[in-house]
């Protein structure tokens, strides 16, 4: 019998040194909660996280940006509706739309922020069951050609935590049809739709594939001992969210993997 690894024992997901040069900015808004977690995910994936403050006037020399989860401004008005007007957001919007195609990932509140800023279409409303929900969620990677999903296989199923109050993705039928036709549905809920999202959509991208938003939290499935398998043990492993972060790092650094 082979000896089992200790729960939480650091399993050598040796980060590739060549990725360390890639700098990923993680933006903190008032009310952001998962910023340290996103930074940890970047670090564990081998990149260098850079703390950004919503009131900053420039992005510095970051190669990509993560808008992390939380309740910016308490979500009192509408999730992401106020944070969208932060000084740094206009820089991010310009950079994402520019020829340089700054890679941007919005997680949970960050996804809501991306739809509020019109970098992504549609919107998020309250979960159909009207309760906050925290669970381990199976997702299917529908498109592995975006900046943030290149390290996954097309159709790969991953388990990552999901936790939100306003996670029901909605858009008009025409928009939904266009998203499907253009392959811009990046993640879809599998087995259980936790919030009533249209067409089981968990995450989408812009046309260029540099901007991706999703409701579930890949940054909480990046470390052995602290992910879905260790906490709940009902499938998947602890690190199936890491691929989003390695994907963008590889995209930034370029070349063969």
């Amino acid at each position: 019998m082979t000896e089992l690894p200790l729960i939480g024992e650091a399993v050598a997901v040796a980060a590739e040194p060549r990725l360390a040069g890639a700098k990923i900015g993680v933006v903190t808004f008032p009310g952001t909660l998962d910023d340290r977690d996103a930074s940890r995910a970047v670090r564990l994936a081998g990149g260098t996280p850079v703390e950004l403050w919503h009131g900053d006037s420039d992005l510095g020399d970051v190669d990509a940006v993560i808008l992390p989860g939380g309740f910016s401004y308490g979500d009192y008005l509408r999730a992401g509706a106020i944070a969208r007007f932060a000084p740094l957001m206009s820089k991010i919007i310009d950079a994402a739309n520019s020829d340089a195609k700054l890679p941007v990932l919005g997680i949970c509140n960050g996804f809501q922020l991306l739809t509020e800023s019109h970098l992504l279409p549609g919107s998020m409303i309250k979960n159909d069951h009207l309760k906050f929900i925290c669970r381990d969620q199976v997702l299917r990677v529908e498109n592995n050609s975006t900046y943030w999903t290149g390290d996954y296989a097309a159709g790969q199923e991953i388990t990552v935590p999901l936790k939100n109050q306003d996670g029901q993705y909605i858009a008009d039928e025409k928009t939904l049809d266009a998203l499907e036709a253009e392959g811009r549905v990046v993640f879809r809920y599998v087995g259980f739709n936790p919030n009533g999202s249209r067409r089981d959509i968990a995450g989408i991208s812009n046309a260029a594939g540099n901007v991706v938003g999703l409701m579930p939290h890949p940054e909480h499935a990046v470390e052995v001992g602290f992910g879905p398998e260790s906490l709940d043990g009902i499938g998947g492993s602890d690190t199936e969210g890491l691929g989003l972060f390695t994907s963008v790092l590889n995209k930034i650094v370029g070349g063969d993997k």
Binding site: M1, E3, L4, L6, I7, G8, E9, A10, P30, G31, L33, D34, R36, D37, R40, G55, G69, G70, F71, Y73, G74, D75, Y76, K131, F132, I133, C134, R135, P161, K163, Q165, H217, E219, H220, E223, G225, F226, S230, L231, G233, I234
Partner: protein, 769 residues
């Protein structure tokens, strides 16, 4: 920043009070007794002003002064051994005690009640309960890292229970989730004794470096006093003195003033803002504003420091400009903090406030006068020795006596009672009994609740509900972490308060040890009925005596907590419910032990012996019986068991461990199987032979000092040797069977895990949607 004071109140100044000694004051309406009012007059040498009366009334309330329990609580500070002191950095009496974790890390934790507000307005009551305890933790200089919530509600099928359940759970989630604090565990008990008095307790834990420990005191003449965070409004006025000090009774006019309303976003910003202040060493002393608001913060800061403070009350930023000085002093508006800042740091302090867009107002400064002087547009409305407000409140030696009914209750054993008729014995009956037990309100799956809480945020949660303890990593480099568990058993404590309180401690201790952590410190939330009832007072006195005695044997100190009295409707009190939280330390959270087994072929051991102890058990509860004596307490055995579990975890000898408590072995076997959906084959004949009990008793008895562990085959010899060397009873009772999908117990019809899971998980959704 200034406040416009457009309205000039009819201010009752100190000067005026001295001149008008005979003015009638509403001391009774403010909850003061005649003797207490007379004492205030004596202390001041004159009648108090309206503002002073407001301050004394809230600070001398049961909630703030512990006047009924103080004489008993003293034991927590007196019954302390050197062993208990060695890791205590800050003891009881501060906002929360601080324990040394090693490597320069310290941890602070505390449990508190928010019971009455949570009955009146479950959402806001529970939400602000979280907010308050989290601010206590920040006040010590710590970053809060997790919360837990022990809940006790009325009967599951009573129509009002759903109101409280939905509100409180949504409130805890709505507030806690917005703070970015993982909720790592708690309890959920349903019992009709809590129908009109639900217990909503909240625990928070925070960590800091040793050098960051902050205390609530105002030192240094000339230092500035600042109030920051949310504005002061009319919410919760009188909440501290009135709401928590009088019980609910249909016959009297209802005393239910506005419950405080929480703003979790403001709290989240306040947390980050405070941590930045600590990082820059910008505050000399800090205090959160909870019960009794500014009255409490000013009098405590001043009396814990150099003893004097001058405050201009019109500088307070208000939500409602019509508030009177007394109301401002009593307001319990949430998300506020008070700090003492040196003049040199004022500018840096303001920069941090501006960065986080937090409002602040400089109220005054520290003096060496020994007086707390509060002015209103320059006119003195409070001039008191702050100690008399904060610390020298009345202390009562309430009469207490063992209730006459106690003997009758204790004589009413479950075995042989009417309710015990038809005790299950055939294999099919036992299988049905096991299923009934794990589907019962108190033993059923609680994920309906916990799935509304964020257990992931922070990325350091290593274990959470339904494991025996919640585990959070503190240091990402070393893996150093803490484990926490809370427990109480109102039924045991009703049967025998002294031992019932000890059983709560023993269970929390065992749960922490089960996770592999070394228990280090205790915080308790003592929920009882009216101290003016000698029966209840006896329960309280016995519970405190029991707890403090047990802490000495287990070698872990009480570092903080709170007392919640008057939890009764009319003359009917709740079961005495001392909720005990134990904190433990794991050198590396990678070594933690989960409660479920997974590895096929691992040997299952039962640690400890089983006696026929069904009184007060969940089985007797299911049959509607409450009488007899609770299970025996053997703290030395608990300590020995704890050491085995901790060593087994450290040396990798077990891959799962689950303590035996409510529901006994039956519950533990089912929970260990369902945790990861892995079955087991169990044979208890050796247990029956050794302990002289029948199969039903072996399954449902709640004898303490026991645990079930699964041991990898490669470790079996080593594990057995360790138990033998320590003289601890252990028997191999079965093996993990990963393929079967069943829990097979010899003499019990085979239970499919699917059917058990369905029964276990269906209960809460059935009642609460």
């Amino acid at each position: 920043m200034t406040t416009e004071t457009t309205k000039k109140f009819n201010i009752d100044t100190v000067e005026n009070a001295a001149k008008t000694p005979d003015t009638e004051l509403p001391w009774a309406e403010l909850g003061l007794k005649r003797n207490e009012f007379d004492e205030i007059v004596k202390v001041l040498g004159r009648r108090p002003t309206g503002a002073e009366l407001a301050m004394y009334s809230v600070m001398w309330s049961e909630h703030c002064s512990y006047k009924s329990s103080k004489n008993h609580l003293r034991q927590f500070g007196e019954k302390v051994t050197d062993e208990m002191k060695k890791d205590m950095l800050v003891g009881i009496g501060e906002n929360a005690g601080v324990t040394n974790l090693g490597d320069g890390w310290a941890v602070t934790f505390k449990i508190e009640s928010h019971n009455s507000p949570s009955f009146v307005e479950p959402y806001q009551g529970a939400a602000t309960g979280i907010g308050g305890i989290v601010r206590d933790i920040i006040s010590m200089g710590a970053r809060p890292v997790a919360v837990m919530d022990p809940l006790r509600f009325g009967a599951i099928d009573h129509p009002d229970t759903a109101r409280v359940m939905h509100g409180a759970v949504a409130g805890i989630g709505g507030y806690g989730n917005s703070l970015g604090l993982p909720n790592i565990g708690g309890e959920m008990v349903f019992d009709s004794v809590y129908q009109g008095n639900p217990l909503v307790n909240a625990l928070a834990v925070g960590v800091m470096r040793h050098e960051d420990i902050r205390l609530a005191n105002a030192s240094g003449k000339g230092n500035k006093v600042v109030l920051f965070g949310a504005r002061t409004g009319g919410d919760g006025i009188g909440g501290a003195s009135v709401l928590a000090s009088e019980s609910f009774d249909d016959t009297k006019p209802s005393k239910r003033p506005a419950v405080q309303v929480g703003d979790p976003f403001a709290e989240k910003v306040l947390i980050e803002c405070c941590l930045e202040l600590f990082k820059g060493s910008l505050v000399e002393g800090i205090q959160d504003l909870g019960a009794a608001g500014i009255s409490c913060a000013t009098s405590e800061l001043a009396s814990n420091g150099d003893g004097g403070m001058n405050v201009e009350l019109t500088s307070v930023l208000l939500r409602d400009p019509t508030l009177t000085p007394g109301e401002i002093l009593m307001s319990e508006s949430q998300e506020r903090m008070m700090a003492v800042v040196t003049p040199e740091n004022v500018e840096a302090f303001e920069a941090v406030m501006d960065k986080w867009a937090v409002e602040y107002a400089w109220l005054g400064e520290v003096t060496d006068s020994g007086r707390l002087i509060i002015t209103w547009e320059g006119e003195v409305i409070v001039d008191v020795d702050p100690r008399t407000v904060a610390h020298d409140g009345p202390v009562y030696d309430r009469p207490f006596a063992r209730p006459e009914w106690q003997d009758t209750v204790q004589a009413d054993k479950f075995t042989g009672s009417v309710q015990d008729a038809g005790r299950p014995s055939a294999p099919a009956e036992l299988a049905a009994a096991v299923t009934e037990l794990v589907a019962s309100p108190n033993m059923c799956d609680k994920s309906w609740i916990t799935n509304q809480y964020d257990r992931y945020v922070g990325g350091n949660t290593a274990m959470a509900f339904p494991d025996d303890a919640g585990v959070v990593r503190v240091d990402e480099e070393s893996g150093l972490g803490v484990a926490l568990a809370t427990d109480a058993n109102g039924r045991y404590t009703y049967l025998d308060p002294y031992h019932g309180a000890q059983l709560a401690l023993a269970e929390a201790y065992r749960n922490v040890a089960t996770s592999g952590a070394v228990p280090m410190a205790v915080s308790d939330c003592l929920n009882f009925g009216s101290p003016e009832d000698p029966d209840v007072m006896w329960q309280l006195a016995e519970a405190i005596r029991g707890l403090s005695d047990a802490c000495m044997v287990l070698g872990i100190p009480v570092t903080g907590g709170n007392v919640s009295l008057y939890n009764q409707t009319g003359t009917t009190p709740i079961h005495p419910s001392p909720v005990v939280a134990v904190l433990g330390k794991l050198d590396d959270v990678a070594r933690r032990t989960p409660s479920g087994w997974r590895e096929d072929g691992a040997a299952i051991y039962l640690l400890g012996t089983t006696a026929a102890e069904l009184d007060g058990s969940e089985w007797s509860n299911l049959r509607g019986h409450l009488g007899g004596l609770p299970p025996k307490v053997d703290l030395e055995a608990e300590r020995a068991l704890g050491e085995i579990l901790i060593n087994a975890s450290r040396d990798g000898m077990v891959d799962s461990a689950h303590d035996l408590s409510e529901g006994g072995l039956a519950a533990a076997l089912v929970e260990s199987s369902l945790r990861y959906g892995v079955g087991a084959r169990i044979a208890l004949q050796d247990v029956l032979d050794r302990d002289g009990v029948d199969l039903f008793t072996a399954l449902f008895s709640e004898t303490q000092g026991r645990a079930v562990v699964s041991v990898p085959r490669s470790e079996e010899v080593r594990f057995k040797d360790m138990c033998t060397a320590r003289g601890f009873e252990h028997l191999r009772i079965g093996v993990v069977d990963a393929a079967s999908g069943q829990l097979e117990i010899n003499g019990v019809d085979t239970l499919s895990l699917d059917a058990l899971r369905e029964a276990h998980e269906a209960t809460l959704p059935k009642y609460f949607g």
